[in-house]
Each structure stands twice: as C-alpha cells, then as structure tokens.
Amino acid sequence: MKIMSDNSEITFSNYGVYDLESDLEFFLPNTTIKFHRISDNAFSYFRKNYEGMIVEKIIPIKSNNLKIELAPIRPLNHPARRTSHMFLQFDKDIYLSENSAASIFVHCPIEIGIFLVHESTRDSLDWITCNSLNSRFGLYGSPDTGKLCKYAKVSLATDYTDSNSYLEGVMQIVVENTLSFGQSISKIVFQITDNALYYQDSKTIIDGIKITMKKRAAVNIADVKTTSLQTDWSMSPTWEDKIVSTHMEMGLE
C-alpha cells in the first residue's frame, strides 16, 4: 500500500513473515520500526510513533537467523489491557423486522503485533496501534454491574475486501430476529478473545458472530456466538490469555 506524505511516497509494509538477517525496516501509518544487527548474537529493536514515543529493545538470538511476523491482533492492548470485550457502536441502526435474518459486514478496529517466529510458536515482541484516537474504552451497563469494553464507533463494510489497511478489519455479523416484533440494533458487545484474525497483504478479516434475538421467559435477549471463518488467508498469532467462553448475552433496549 502506498500513500503520499510530505511530497514523498511512503510504501507501507505488508503483514507476513520476514527473514531478519541484518537490518530491516517496517513502515506503518504513523509508526516506523527498525531492526538492526548489533552483534552476531543480538539484534536491536526500535519503534517510533508520530507522537515521538520511542521503544527500544535488545533481542539476543541463538541461531544466526531470526524471523519476524507482522500481523494484525485484537484491539485489546492500547492504552492498556483491561478487558476481553468489544463494544461496537454502529454509525447507523440496523432494523430487523419480525422473524427475519440478515447478514452484514462491519469494520472492527485492530492493533498490529510484532512476533518473533520460532518453529511452532510465536513470541510477542511488541504491539502498536496505528489509530490511537480510536482506541478507547466504553461501559456496557451500569457503573456498578456493567462490563468494561474496548469501544469503537464503526461503519458498515461492503464485504471482506473493504478492510481499512492497518486500522480496521472486516467482520461478518449474522443477525436473526425470532421475536414477534421488529427490532433495531445499534450496538453489539462480545468477547473478542474468541475471534481469530486473518491477514493477507495489508488487509484483515475477523471471525464473525451470530446474534439471535429471542425471548426467554419474560425477557428479550440477544444471544451472541462466535462463528469461525473458513479462509485461505493466514491466521494471526496471538498471545493474549485465551478465556474460554461459550457465548455472551445482551439485553435488548
């Protein structure tokens, strides 16, 4: 992907696995990453963002070569890891009439992880967000019993190719309304640690979710479950604690 900046053309780095033999540079929106060999057994890592914040690390290595993977990760780490839940607020409400179903695509924010590649595992070296202003928290529910979530106001996407490189992935949401009346959906809350991310070049797609609006006794609820994607895109590694959960329910408002 290329953009014009300060009269010069910047080519942003694609996601993927890179061999690190001597020096290597990655250019991402608002961020520059540099690897530099400082000795036979060590590399240095340098990251600088547009605010001038610098992160430096030394990476001792056993073998002569080192592999690095640049991949999208779940948007849970900036400004700090506080939750496993995502709160997506749609810019437009989605209306579903009684006993109907719909499939939509939405943008979902992502972060970018830098991993050291071993034979079968990935070690997290660092992570960044290319859009820190859209990396905020929100509360679903009341202050005493609510659920703290990462919050983002998102727009609908046309399909899986409509991803905003380095900033947002695309997620499919299937909504089914089994209630006997129409219902508007303006937001969804779900545990995003159940959703895997996949990448190709600079694009990202995310495991989908299925929402079933149904009546349970006297209460109307939205039952939210994760649906796995079948794709030939590369699956992103992750290092977050995997919290096993079957599904999450939201109250209908």
Partner: protein, 274 residues
C-alpha cells in the same frame, strides 16, 4: 548404648507418670508438626496460591498451618497421656474468666471471623475508612487485626473490631469510577464553545476516559467572577491516576488553546470623588 540411654530417660519420672522420654517424644511431635506446617504452607504458597484469589489463598494457607498445629498438639497431649476431657470441664470455668479478661482480644478474633465470612473487602482492594481517615490497599485480614498499606507506603494495623464496625468505602468494587473537576470561565466566554473545547481535548489526550458514558458537563454556578462548569468523566477503576490528577490540566490546556479566559476574582472599587 542408645537403648540404654532411652531406657534411662523413660525411668526418670518428672510429675506423676510424666517421664523425660515422653516429654522428649512430645517435643519431637510438636517440633515436627511446626516444621511440617511451615513446609506445607510454603509449598501451598509456591505451587497453588498464585492461581487462587489472594484472600482465598490466605485463608486456605492459615487453615493448613493451624490445622497441622492442632493435629500436632493433639498428638502431643495423647503422647503425654493427658486426658482432654478433664481440661474440657475445667475449660468451661476458665473460659468465663478468660472471656472477661480478654474481652477485646476475643472481640477482635470474632470480628476477624465475621470479616472473613462477610468479605466487605478483599486482599488487594483499595479501600477508604472515612471514620479513621485511612485509605489504601488492604493487605491482610488477620486473626486479630487487619493491615492497610496507605498510599504513602506506610502500613497501618487496624484492630478487627474497629475495622468491622467502621464504614468501609471500596474503591475497586465497581468496574469504573468517576473523576470530576470544576472550572470557571469568564462571563464573556461562550459556554458551549468551552464545553466543546474541553470535550475534544479529553477525547484526544486522555485515552483512559470512557466514551460511554460520555464526559458530562454541568453549568454549576453563576459565580461572582465566573461561570463555573463541573466536568465529570468515567474511567476504568484501576486507572484513577490516568484521570483525576490530569483532568484539571487537560481542562486548562483546552481553554488556553481556545482562548477562553479563566477569570481572576475581580472587585470594582469606587472612590468618593468618582
């Protein structure tokens, strides 16, 4: 040689049927019990406690330690041929006497048990005891007293009775907390413009401030020299330091950037000639 030595010890009677050998065996049982209790506590802390909530781990640790000590003590008494049923009867009388003498100690002990059962706060919680003017992190609810590490790093010991009967304000029980500041702008300034400027600055520079619920602004007072606006923001409970202490700075910066005046108190003085 050793057998003869032990035989000699068993023949050395101290009081009644109590011999030096039985006392030695009792001592070994008690010492062994203490060592086993300490090792069991250590192993529990090393291998199991890290995966449990802090307060549960502390309680189980105490249960293991004192449980082994009690078993050791029972072993000690049976090795000495002591009949505990007699002690039980005598204990009833002594309990009344000791109860009066150690009223506060027993009160602290009972309060400690109630605190463990009721759990008004857990180990590691940030709490405030307004009656005592103490706020900090709860380190331990012990047998007779509790320990709170204040924000200046010092540790305060509070008798359980006082702790149990105090008002306890938990600062970590809710998922989120609210920070607030008050600021005055001049009467000539645009109130909506000031609120918008503050809102934008908070959005851009305070990543821990929640978007939902949104920052709230209330025109609090038409003061002597200024229109006073109260700003409320919510933040994750663990990130108080990223909200409250810097909120006023952020508000001031926003008003400075927008050229909105924060007025000084003004007084107009008329002299006699005027």
């Amino acid at each position: 040689m050793v057998l003869e030595f032990l035989q000699g010890l068993s023949e050395m009677q101290l009081v009644g049927e109590l011999t030096v050998l039985s006392l030695l065996i009792g001592g070994i049982i008690m010492a062994g019990g203490v060592i086993i209790a300490k090792i069991a506590k250590l192993l529990f802390h090393k291998y199991y406690a890290p995966s449990l909530p802090k307060d549960t781990a502390q309680n189980i640790s105490k249960l293991i330690y004192f449980g082994i000590l009690v078993i050791s003590f029972l072993g000690f008494t049976s090795s000495q041929g002591i009949d505990l049923s007699g002690i039980m009867v005598a204990g009833g009388i002594f309990a009344v006497v000791i109860g009066f003498a150690t009223q506060s100690v027993v009160s602290n002990l009972i309060s400690g048990l109630f605190l463990i059962v009721e759990k008004p706060a857990k180990h590691g919680d940030t709490i405030e005891l307004p009656d005592m003017g103490i706020s900090g992190t709860l380190l331990d609810i012990g047998t007779f007293s509790s320990k709170v590490r204040k924000f200046d790093g010092t540790v305060t010991r509070i008798p359980n009775e006082k702790f149990f009967t105090s008002n306890i304000r938990s600062l970590t029980l809710s998922t989120v907390r609210r920070a607030d500041v008050s600021v005055g702008i001049s009467y000539e300034s645009d109130i909506d413009g000031a609120i918008l400027a503050i809102k934008n600055e908070i959005q851009q520079t305070m990543p821990f401030v929640l978007q939902i619920p949104e920052p709230e602004f209330r025109v609090e007072e038409l003061g002597d020299s200024s229109v006073n606006i109260h700003v409320f923001v919510w933040h994750p409970r663990d990130d108080w330091s990223q909200a409250q202490p810097i909120l006023l700075t952020t508000v001031k910066r926003a008003l400075d950037k927008s050229g909105i005046e924060i007025p000084f108190p003004q007084r107009v003085i008329w002299t006699g000639k005027d």
